[in-house]
């Protein structure tokens, strides 16, 4: 039963990915789509951390920053291929998450929020201040991984927009598949159990600290890969990727769509990524609108968009 629901959700996601381009008014929208998928990937990680395990982070953009700058720095200073740099970034983020997660996750509620916030600020400060290495607030360029050339050799001619639309979509599908696997597995169930009651979870044998740490590390990997893909497709990166606003965006997207739901999180990412691209007004007031969205969702749809809609439909069926 759980497995059928998993495949339905993945099929819906895949269908949307394939069908959407037919409605694109211009090729510019491939870029918007790619950005949605990259953001959604990070949000799926937040769904695991917040929705499954019930922990909060206001600093996950820090991991996105590490992933992004790994792709910018490693090719330049270590001569690493950008694709391998993505993996190096993920490993770095994972190890760092493991190290800081252990002490931080003992905290609860807003204490945890503040501690993770501190981590995010630290990363973005390092990236901003290490001018010699990172170019400081002006950012730095990211080497082209040469994917287009490789595909052209194989006989596939893709525009830059199409290429990154495809790559990000595949990354999102894999990320969603993994998150849905986790949901219905012993580990995912242990995370969701401790979300429901830490005391009860521990009395059925769940090592609460260990499972929280796992959720934290896994979500950091998602954020890191998301940051890497963002850097690679933009060909340029600034410390904003690790900034506080980006962390808040991740949480807001997850909460807007439905924090327990992979598809919901993706929907949240789609809405909040598209709006500023389509309505320039929104771009100017992005922070204001984010704040307003957060407040309204919390008041009217505490479960998030998708679960609330699903519930309404189910209510009608019965």
């Amino acid at each position: 039963m759980g497995s059928r629901r998993k495949w339905i959700q993945l099929a819906v996601l895949a269908a949307l990915i394939i069908v959407l381009p037919f409605f694109f008014p211009s090729s510019y929208y491939y870029r918007v789509g790619a950005l949605i998928f990259v953001n959604a990937l990070a949000v799926v990680g937040m769904v695991i951390l917040i929705g499954y395990a019930g922990q909060i982070s206001l600093g996950h953009a820090g991991f996105a920053g590490i992933g992004a700058y790994a792709c910018a720095l490693a090719p330049e200073y270590l001569g690493l291929h950008p694709g391998l740099a993505l993996i190096l970034g993920a490993v770095t983020s994972g190890v760092l998450a493991l190290l800081i997660g252990r002490p931080i996750l003992r905290l609860k509620g807003y204490y945890l929020g503040v501690a993770t916030l501190g981590f995010g600020i630290l990363v973005s400060m390092v990236l901003t201040n290490e001018r010699a290495l990172t170019g400081g607030p002006d950012g730095m360029s990211v080497a082209d991984p040469g994917l287009r050339g490789m595909l052209r050799d194989l006989g596939w001619r893709l525009s830059v927009g199409e290429l990154w639309y495809g790559v990000s979509a595949i990354a999102l599908l894999i990320g969603a598949w993994v998150a849905l696997n986790l949901f219905d597995s012993p580990t995912g169930r242990a995370m969701r159990a401790l979300h429901g009651s830490e005391v009860a979870a521990s009395t059925v044998g769940v090592d609460v600290a260990r499972q929280k740490l796992r959720a934290f590390v896994i979500s950091a990997l998602y954020a890191s890969v998301s940051g890497s893909l963002l850097a690679l497709q933009n060909g340029f990166i600034t410390p904003d990727v690790a900034g506080f606003m980006h962390s808040i965006e991740m949480v807001t997207m997850a909460v807007l769509g439905g924090v327990g739901s992979v598809l919901g999180g993706t929907l949240g990412a789609a809405i909040l990524t598209t709006l500023p691209q389509v309505l320039t007004i929104f771009a100017e007031y992005e922070q204001l609108v984010l704040g307003a969205v957060m407040i309204l969702v919390m008041i009217f749809l505490p479960q998030g968009l998708l679960p609330s809609i699903a519930r309404r439909f189910r209510g009608r069926d019965e």
């Binding site: 597995s185 169930r189 009395t203 059925v204 769940v206 327990g260």
Partner: protein, 261 residues
């Protein structure tokens, strides 16, 4: 040999000695009840035995090993399982998933297998699913398996907690007021279930206010009052103890014996 031994156990909250110098033992297959008036310290005692509270004094020994202050999930690994007086159900999970959570120790494997849904994980999950369904049938919740646990009635949630605790395949089970809020039929069912479990060799440590139930099924009773043990022994001895009658049983028990005859 004793399965569980509690020696001189005590804990203080601020100035209040919630439990003080309590000692007793439980053997395999035995039903030991802890009774006492409201606020006597029964739940606090359970919380210390199951590793949720760190005792201020005394020791807990499980299967010959000193486990004082051991974390709850370690005690679960050693075969100690419990239910809660103030329900601790995983509200947002289905009824079946709540019991599956109880299989955690038996089905956990590598995280990679879980993330990639490898066949090894699916095999483990399938075994757990079968066991969980059987347990749900045993507590008459099989029909509700797919429902969200939060939607169940109070009595059903009590039974769900028992099923979840049994999923650990425990050698000792701590039940904190399993019959509270249950009607006469449900109470009877729980009564049978406890007797069955004990007959299968599981030791039961029970806190229950329903004196009829306690007197009927207990092998041994420990009486607490104001955190201290004021009496212990078999049901007949305890029910005749003047201190116990004064502190707690009194009218209640008089009614209970009337109803019995």
């Amino acid at each position: 040999m004793n399965l569980l031994e509690v020696k001189g156990l005590g804990i203080s909250f601020g100035g209040l000695k919630a439990v003080d110098d309590v000692s007793f033992a439980v053997k395999p297959g035995e039903i030991v009840s802890v009774i006492g008036p409201n606020g006597a310290g029964k739940t606090t005692l359970f919380n210390m035995i199951s590793g949720i509270y760190l005792p201020s004094r005394g020791s807990v020994t499980l299967k010959g090993q000193d486990v004082t202050g051991t974390a709850p999930h370690k005690l679960a690994e050693m075969g100690l399982s419990r239910t809660f007086q103030n329900l601790q159900v995983f509200q947002e999970m289905t009824v079946l998933e709540n019991v599956l959570a109880g299989y955690h120790l038996r089905v956990r494997g590598s995280i990679l297998a879980d993330l990639l849904s490898l066949p090894s994980m699916r095999r483990r999950a399938a075994t757990a699913r079968e066991g969980a369904q059987a347990l749900l049938t045993r507590v008459r919740l099989d029909k509700a398996a797919g429902q969200e646990a939060g939607s169940l009635s109070y009595g059903a949630l009590k039974r769900l907690e028992i099923a979840r605790a049994l999923a650990l395949n425990p050698s000792i089970l701590l039940l904190d007021e399993p019959a509270a809020g249950c009607n006469a039929v449900e109470t009877e069912e729980i009564d049978h279930l406890i007797a069955e479990l004990a007959a299968s060799g599981i030791a039961i440590l029970l806190v229950e206010h329903d004196m009829k139930l306690v007197m009927r099924i207990s092998n041994h009773i420990v009486v607490l009052d104001h955190g201290e043990k004021i009496a212990e022994g078999d049901p007949v001895t305890v029910s005749r103890n003047p201190q116990v009658i004064a502190a707690y049983l009194g009218a209640d028990h008089a009614e209970a014996t009337h109803a019995d005859s």
